[in-house]
């Protein structure tokens, strides 16, 4: 159980049987008035955000969340299948549940799967992934157009900006938190 004074940005709580994360938090207390804990909360299943104001006496259930390391097996018909590395149990998440992380998933990749009451709700890919560039405009040496980057497409279909010297067939490292190019991977 959490009390209102435990509330802070990033805390995960359970409301009406659903997990929420506090994405913004303000402590307010009008003169002589009550302490008010104003939160912006995001439903971790639906992604919907809303504002709530709590008082000192309010209590909160801890969201029963668990993270497990699983291996991405394959995608079929919009369903993404994963296997628990310890129990070999298999689970599936929909494309909607995975949102914009699907572009970083490669077969046999280890990911962190977030479970709410044993129900998978989200997947966190490794911080750095290495993907092969499948489409890139050739680099023209001495190009003076002034542009520092160019767009390339990687094997998962993800498009990002990279330095102009990156060529088709090369492997690059991407930071999945910022979704940006990090470095070229020497083969």
């Amino acid at each position: 159980m959490y009390s209102a004074s435990d509330l802070r940005k990033g805390l995960k709580i359970s409301i009406d049987g659903e997990p929420y994360i506090i994405t913004d938090f303000t402590f307010s207390k009008p003169g002589k008035g009550q302490s008010l804990y104003r939160c912006r909360i995001r439903n971790m299943i639906t992604g919907n955000s809303s504002d709530r104001t709590y008082r000192s006496n309010d209590k909160f259930e801890k969201a029963p969340l668990e993270e497990r390391t699983m291996q991405f097996l394959y995608e079929q018909g919009g369903e993404y299948h994963f296997m628990d590395n310890k129990t070999y149990e298999q689970i599936a998440l929909s494309k909607e549940q995975l949102g914009d992380t699907t572009v970083f998933l490669m077969d046999n990749m280890d990911v962190e799967v977030l479970l709410f009451s044993d129900r998978p709700i989200a997947v966190t890919p490794p911080v750095f992934v290495e993907l092969t560039v499948t489409k890139a405009d050739p680099w023209v040496k001495g190009d003076t157009s002034g542009s520092d980057t160019k767009p390339v497409t990687v094997e998962t279909g993800f498009v990002l900006q990279v330095p102009p010297f990156i060529e088709e067939g090369e492997k690059i490292q991407i930071d999945t938190r910022t979704r940006e190019y990090v470095t070229r991977v020497k083969s």
Partner: protein, 300 residues
């Protein structure tokens, strides 16, 4: 720790406050920080210190000094309130309180209108302070707005509806406070009687307490009122607060009897508490209160 520049301005602010009050005939006093019986207030939780408590405000001791015959007094001191930590709250903070006999809450508002330009000028801030994208002019007169008018103007619901629905604080914080103290500081005044435990009720209108709050840039900076000086009425109000504390699951501290005994000798008076850290934060354009104190709790 904040830059030395800010600590120098902090020292200058203390000095300017003292000059302002001493020039006006006020006496600087100091009262004990550790006390046996803070004023029972439902939403202010005192910090225990042994069998006693650290003061949440020097109010009761200062009123006893008024009653003892000192007509104009001020104090800069530390106050402690449990569980109050946020962008504008510290559990230990610096308070300026001043009290004057034979004065009322409108007299205090006029003094605030003189105090702030004086200290701002002493700090070299000038008579305008920048809050976010707006500018607040400290030149008098400032805006005066009753609580009822503020609810009518900015609230999603009226004052009567908010009181009936037990959401006065929520509406105040969400709808009203952000609108106050823009352009000039705002005095929000005439609070519902139930929200002014130590304030005098308006003669002829017992539903209103002669209490005000000063706001600058949406930040509440000071709380003042015409003092309640009827010991019987004061005891009833404290008992109401004690009942509310018990109902909320707290353990009310004992009745401040010496204060109640001294009250008849005080006579009509007015007093105000102003958050010095918040004032410095606003004058220097800082975003959080932690930026203007030498050490916040997290850095100790």
């Amino acid at each position: 720790m904040p830059p030395a520049r800010i600590l120098r301005q902090r020292g200058a602010l203390f000095q300017a406050i003292r000059t302002f009050f001493i020039d006006r005939g006020y006496l600087e006093v100091d009262t004990p920080v550790r006390i046996p019986a803070p004023a029972p207030e439902a939403y202010i939780e005192p910090e225990p210190a042994g069998d006693w408590f650290l003061q949440t405000s020097p109010e009761l001791c200062m009123k006893r000094l008024l009653a003892a015959g000192l007509p104009q007094i001020f104090q800069i001191c530390k106050c402690f309130r449990r569980h109050e930590r946020g962008a504008r709250h510290l559990p230990e903070f610096t308070m300026l309180e001043w009290y004057q006999r034979e004065a009322n809450y409108f007299d205090l508002m006029a003094e605030c209108e003189q105090l702030l330009p004086f200290v701002a000028s002493a700090l070299g801030v000038g008579d305008e302070i920048v809050i976010g994208e707006g500018v607040v002019s400290l030149t008098a007169p400032w805006q005066r707005l009753t609580v009822a008018d503020a609810f009518a103007r900015y609230g999603a619901i009226s004052l009567a509806q908010a009181l009936a629905g037990d959401c006065f604080d929520e509406v105040l914080v969400r709808d009203i406070e952000p609108k106050l103290g823009r352009g000039t500081p705002t005095f929000l005044y005439d609070y519902p009687a139930v929200l002014g435990s130590l304030a005098r009720l308006q003669p002829g209108n017992p539903s209103v307490a002669e209490r005000f709050e000063m706001y600058i840039g949406g930040v509440e900076l000071a709380n003042g009122f015409s003092e309640l000086c009827d010991p019987v009425e004061q005891r009833h109000r404290f008992e109401d607060e004690q009942r509310l504390i018990a109902k909320l699951g707290g353990e009310p501290a004992m009745m401040p009897e010496p204060f109640l005994a001294a009250l008849p000798a005080m006579g009509p008076a007015a007093g105000i508490a102003l958050g010095v850290d918040r004032l410095l934060m606003l004058l220097l354009g800082c975003q959080t209160i932690a930026e203007v104190v030498s050490f916040s709790p997290e850095t100790l």
